[in-house]
């Protein structure tokens, strides 16, 4: 059994308390929600915070409540919506009636993360902030030592709690590349971006709210735009009237596996049946979730195969899978097309 290194644990009592601890802890501190991502990383010594700040005891971070959905990019529909606390477990999210059919992509994505046990522990906030993954990174310390480390986890003595590059060598996926290509593997982020979600980040100095899409950066190491002292406290969904959504996950097995590809699609139909608005977001094919801009071309169409095909094609062109996860990359790129087309056809063919 691999064991976690020694660390100090602080069970925060409130967001304010946690934010203060996080600020005090500086680079050596990390947040822990369900721990299903952070703890395995600590065992593998890819993340070695000296101070772990527990969020699970903070009641205000848990639960799903109506309202609060306005904010980023919701068009004229700012009222209503839904707010989900960052520490709501994935099992709770998947089962919440308020999520259910209205935000179906989210329910499907949350319900397909890992295994039932992990969904009972893992949280929505932890899933959104999930560390990026790579064949050369998600390995034991001995294994990584043997390849002389990589830039995302350069040695065990780096004290790089938040993935800051120091003593970096290179990226084994693309050895001439100046950047890290680890893959964004969160299931819920593509779904939530497609649903137009915004998030609240809190720190000692105050709060800010930004579209979820803006939380991510195309860099396997600094994959979040979250500032060091910030805590993700809530996810806000705009009102869902008129929208239909789905999430297609490609993985090898029916359980357990991280996505090899995630496709979230959301479409709003105007009265009369034509598409008023459409979004397609890809997961697990880059260091961040990828919004497919060509989805906008679906507006006005009736989601015919002819309308779908160029969008699927564009999505496949956008995806840049690399040789650092399961399956041949050419195949994964091909799957993007099928999955995007399949997801959109499903939205067309399922009655609302």
């Amino acid at each position: 059994m691999m064991r976690a290194p020694d660390f100090r644990y602080y069970a925060a009592r409130s967001v304010r308390d946690a934010a203060a601890a996080l600020e005090d802890g500086g680079n050596a501190a990390m947040l822990l929600a369900g721990g299903t991502d952070l703890v395995p990383n600590m065992k593998r010594r890819t993340q070695t915070p000296a101070l772990v700040i527990g969020l699970r005891g903070i009641g205000e971070l848990r639960g799903v409540r109506a309202g609060g959905g306005g904010g980023g990019g919701g068009g004229g529909r700012r009222a209503g919506g839904l707010t989900l606390g960052a520490c709501t477990t994935l099992a709770e999210v998947a089962a919440a009636p308020a999520v259910g059919r209205r935000y179906r992509a989210l329910a499907l994505a949350a319900g397909q993360v890992a295994t039932p046990q992990l969904r009972n522990m893992g949280t929505l906030g932890g899933n959104l902030c999930l560390d990026t993954r790579c064949t050369y990174y998600d390995q034991s310390e001995e294994w990584r030592r043997a390849i002389n480390w990589c830039m995302k986890a350069p040695g065990s003595n780096g004290g790089h709690a938040c993935g800051t590059p120091d003593g970096a060598s290179l990226c084994w996926v693309a050895t001439s590349s100046p950047r890290c290509w680890a893959v964004s593997s969160t299931d819920t982020a593509p779904a939530l971006i497609a649903l137009g979600a915004t998030v609240t980040l809190a720190r000692v100095a105050g709060r800010r709210r930004l579209p979820l899409e803006k939380l991510y950066r195309d860099d396997g190491m600094a994959y979040l735009t979250r500032e060091p002292g910030e805590i993700l406290t809530a996810v806000h969904l705009p009102a869902a009237a008129g929208w239909r959504s789905t999430y297609w996950k490609l993985r090898r097995r029916g359980s357990f596996d991280f996505p090899v590809l995630g496709v979230a699609a959301a479409v709003r139909f105007a009265t009369g049946g034509a598409v008023a608005d459409a979004r397609v977001v890809l997961g697990a094919v880059a260091s961040r979730p990828l919004v497919v801009p060509e989805a906008a071309t679906l507006a006005g169409s009736r989601l015919t195969d002819e309308a779908i095909e160029p969008v699927a094609e564009a999505a496949a062109a956008l995806a840049t899978p690399l040789d650092n996860t399961d399956f041949a990359l050419a195949w994964r790129k091909k799957m993007v097309r099928h999955y995007v087309a399949g997801a959109l056809r499903e939205l067309r063919d399922t009655p609302s």
């Binding site: 059994m1 998600d138 090898r252 097995r253 359980s255 596996d257 041949a328 099928h338």
Partner: protein, 776 residues
């Protein structure tokens, strides 16, 4: 969901043939302390191994001074500190047919994960800190990772040490080879109307048993070395450790507690020698175990093979000649190398009664994780190839694949002469088929899968989801003829219970239950009257161990003999109480009956023997067979192929198996179903991937894909019972045979659905899609 077969025909047996609960089930489901690790020893140290980061390297120098100086460290061992005794880690009867090419610790490493040094310390953290303080001066050598080029001139020599023995040609990295034939295949091919030649490739599969390897060693009050270990082979371990550490067998006691699975991975001395050495060096109890990560590449794998098969048939479907050529990789060391590969020939080719057979096989060393014994023992590779090829030939001839198989399959009364040529490491014994339920397996299996209705015919139809069905027929053995043997010991207690002591090794297979059933049936007592204990080299008789599907037939045979002797003894004492001749007495329902109906309880007989006659009723017996009766199996698969993703999804798997008489049908079904789960992993998902430098890329359960409950298709298991004269109560075996046919049945079903042949395992969606695309 599993559909069980109808219950076995009513018989007068009270215990054998019944679906009784596992004798150790209760303690397992209630989490009682049963396993190797479930013991607390004062002063226990934790052992850790420094694993090689290089696939191939020489240790120019190794400095352990800083590690030894670390507080809490009690022993640090390198090759300089231990005896150098060439040996094999294969758990096989002496003299082992595997090369002696392995050393407790060596100045050379031959794969990523090979032993460099070992440490025993007070805590795991200290032990790991000590490992980091060991300084190694490496001379890195070129890795040898491709089996097709391992024998090329100029390739680095993996075993260049002078003291290894039994290697076929070390200078060419050739661990062993096998060349044997019956008839004249070339003449056979000249007589053939159709000849097909195809190549097949199989991956490195890992056992992925629930409990990784673990050993705890200590010195007892008499200074004897006690080895408590999760092993399938306690008696071989005792002999091997004695040899490697140069201590007498009498100074060693091996205890095998309950085991959490092995699948052949524990038919091998993996950690016992090193843990014992750490105990001797420190004088303290030491625990040495693999983490799951280490288990994947520092334990054993299935041998990857490249098989080239050439088969010639007559137009009427009669197989005339079959030539199988195998290239296999044993990895860094040669344990089981020629025996596993020998089985690829000897247990596969004779399934079809061709007059001309030829088997040529090279087993090469690579600087990769070590291969070893694994459920099926060479047969899953051989049957994947053979059953794919005969399917293709049947298709070419326009014959029904079942009819083709039935026409050619070995049958009752046949003598398989190839087995005589291919013993384990030496000449073997011919195999006479005394029981064969294969036709019935095919018939019942075909009905269960819906063979006639579900067959698509190997043509590509339009549509996204394509369905098809496939079949494979296979056999295995029941013990190694003339090699495997076992002892059993029974004694009577005054309450009518009996202690049954066996060296047999229940590794989760349920053999404790089956052996207790055999004793209970023979003695005419209920199952709760048998107190089975397995195994402890001090207290239980010798048994070669749990492998080669031998336990029910070989250890069971010994139990039956011992129980018969004890029954006869009990009857002699009962005769005194019943005033009737002992030979007229019958034991049943925990009583002994005289012809007139008068009876005494077993307890009364036992009390009489003990306290009146001052005699402990106790008997031992040994057993071996000069033949290895094969169980037969027909595996049917229905699959769905997604032409957009290339994914092959198993829909329904049917296993119809002739296992002789099922001693415990419930457990037999469990074995068959488990074999299907492991076989599906082999067919579709499992593969230990090594990168360009020989490092494992997916040594964890997230990335190494075993089938999960959610991935399992509908299962149907049909037990086809035959009476095997050589087996106790007619039993043969069930533990291995079920895995052999899964991959070929799936591949044949995928062909039936798409018209495409898949000759490389695992059948990955990316490869399937590429093939599908190529046809469009």
């Amino acid at each position: 969901m599993s559909g069980a077969s109808p219950p076995s025909p009513p018989s007068r047996r009270a215990v054998v043939g019944r679906r009784v609960r596992k004798v150790d089930g209760f303690k397992l489901v209630t989490g009682r302390t049963a396993f190797t690790d479930d013991i607390a020893l004062p002063g226990l140290l934790v052992g850790r191994i420094l694993a090689s980061p290089h696939a191939h390297a020489r240790i120019r120098d190794i400095d352990t001074r800083r590690a030894k100086a670390l507080p809490g460290v009690h022993a640090v061992l390198t090759w300089k500190d231990v005896p150098r005794v060439p040996h094999t880690t294969a758990g096989q009867a002496w003299p082992e047919p595997s090369p002696y090419d392995t050393y407790l610790l060596d100045s050379k490493v031959r794969f990523v994960g090979d032993r460099v040094a070992a440490v025993a310390a007070e805590t795991r953290a200290v032990a790991e800190e000590a490992l980091r303080l060991i300084e190694v001066d490496w001379e890195v050598l070129p890795p040898v990772l491709d089996m097709e080029h391992a024998m090329d001139p100029g390739t680095a020599v993996i075993h260049d040490e002078p003291d290894a023995t039994g290697i076929r040609d070390a200078a060419r990295n050739l661990a062993g080879d096998i060349h044997t034939h019956i008839g004249d295949v070339e003449a056979g091919f000249r007589e053939s109307d159709l000849i097909l030649e195809r190549e097949y490739r199989t991956p490195r599969q890992q056992h992925a048993m629930l409990e990784p390897h673990i050993v705890i060693c200590w010195l007892d009050a008499d200074n004897r070395l006690v080895i408590r270990t999760s092993t399938q082979i306690p008696f071989h371990v005792r002999r091997q450790v004695a040899m490697i550490l140069r201590i007498p067998v009498s100074r060693i006691r091996v205890i095998k507690p309950r085991i959490g699975g092995g699948f052949g991975g524990k038919q091998e001395m993996v950690l016992e020698d090193l843990c014992a050495a750490l105990t001797l060096a420190s004088g303290r109890p030491v625990k040495l175990e693999y983490s799951r990560h280490e288990e994947f590449f520092m334990a054993r794998t299935r041998h990857p093979q490249i098989l080239r098969l050439r088969m010639g048939v007559k137009r009427d479907g009669t197989i005339v000649a079959h030539h199988m050529r195998v290239l296999a990789a044993t990895g860094a060391y040669g344990s089981h190398c020629t025996t596993v590969q020998g089985n690829t020939g000897s247990k596969v080719l004779p399934l079809y009664r061709a007059p001309h057979l030829r088997f040529d096989c090279d087993v090469v060393y690579l600087t990769t994780p070590q291969a070893g014994a694994f459920r099926g023992y060479g047969c899953p590779q051989g049957y994947f190839a053979q059953e794919s090829l005969v399917d293709e030939i049947a298709h070419e001839l326009g014959m029904d694949p079942i009819a083709f198989r039935l026409k050619n399959a070995i049958r009752q009364g046949d003598v398989d002469e190839l087995s005589a040529q291919l013993g384990e490491g030496k000449k073997g014994l011919p195999r006479t088929i005394r029981s064969c339920g294969l036709p019935e397996c095919l018939e019942k299996g075909a009905a269960a899968i819906g063979w006639k209705e579900q067959r698509n015919g190997g043509v590509r139809r339009p549509g996204r989801l394509l369905r098809g069905v496939g079949v494979a027929t296979t056999m295995q053995g029941s013990g190694i003829a003339g090699v495997d043997f076992a002892g059993a010991f029974l004694k009577a207690n005054e309450d009518g219970s009996f202690n049954l002591q066996v060296g047999a090794t229940d590794l989760g297979t349920g053999s404790d239950t089956v052996l207790a059933q055999i004793a209970a049936e023979t003695l005419g007592v209920s199952l709760d009257k048998i107190l089975i204990y397995s195994s402890d080299t001090d207290f239980t008789p010798f048994d070669v161990g749990a492998y080669a599907s031998s336990t029910t037939i070989i250890s069971g045979g010994a139990v039956k003999k011992a129980a018969e002797k004890v029954r006869d003894d009990m009857c002699c004492f009962a005769a005194q109480l019943l005033d009737a001749p002992p030979e007229d007495l019958v034991c049943r329902d925990n009583r002994v009956f005289a012809p007139g109906g008068k009876s005494v309880s077993m307890a009364e007989v036992a009390v009489h023997a003990l306290y009146k006659e001052k005699t402990q009723v106790m008997e031992g017996a040994s057993h071996f067979n000069t033949d290895s009766p094969p169980p037969f199996c027909a595996t049917f698969a229905e699959v769905e192929v997604d032409t957009e993703t290339g994914r092959v999804r198993p829909v329904h798997l049917v296993t119809a198996v002739d296992l002789g008489v099922a001693i415990n049908p419930m457990q037999a079904e469990g074995q068959a179903e488990g074999a299907v789960a492991q076989g599906l992993g082999y067919a579709l998902a499992e593969e230990l991937v090594l990168d360009g430098r020989g490092r494992p890329a997916n040594a964890n359960f997230c990335d190494y894909k075993i089938f999960t409950a959610k991935d399992m298709p509908k299962l149907t298991t049909i037990l086809v019972e035959t009476e095997e004269p050589l087996g106790p109560f007619g039993a043969k075996s069930i533990a291995e045979v079920g895995i052999n046919g899964v991959a070929p049945a799936v591949a044949n079903a995928a062909f039936d659905a798409t018209g495409l042949r898949f000759r490389r395992l695992p059948i990955r969606p990316d490869a399937v899609l590429a093939a599908l695309g190529g046809r469009r």
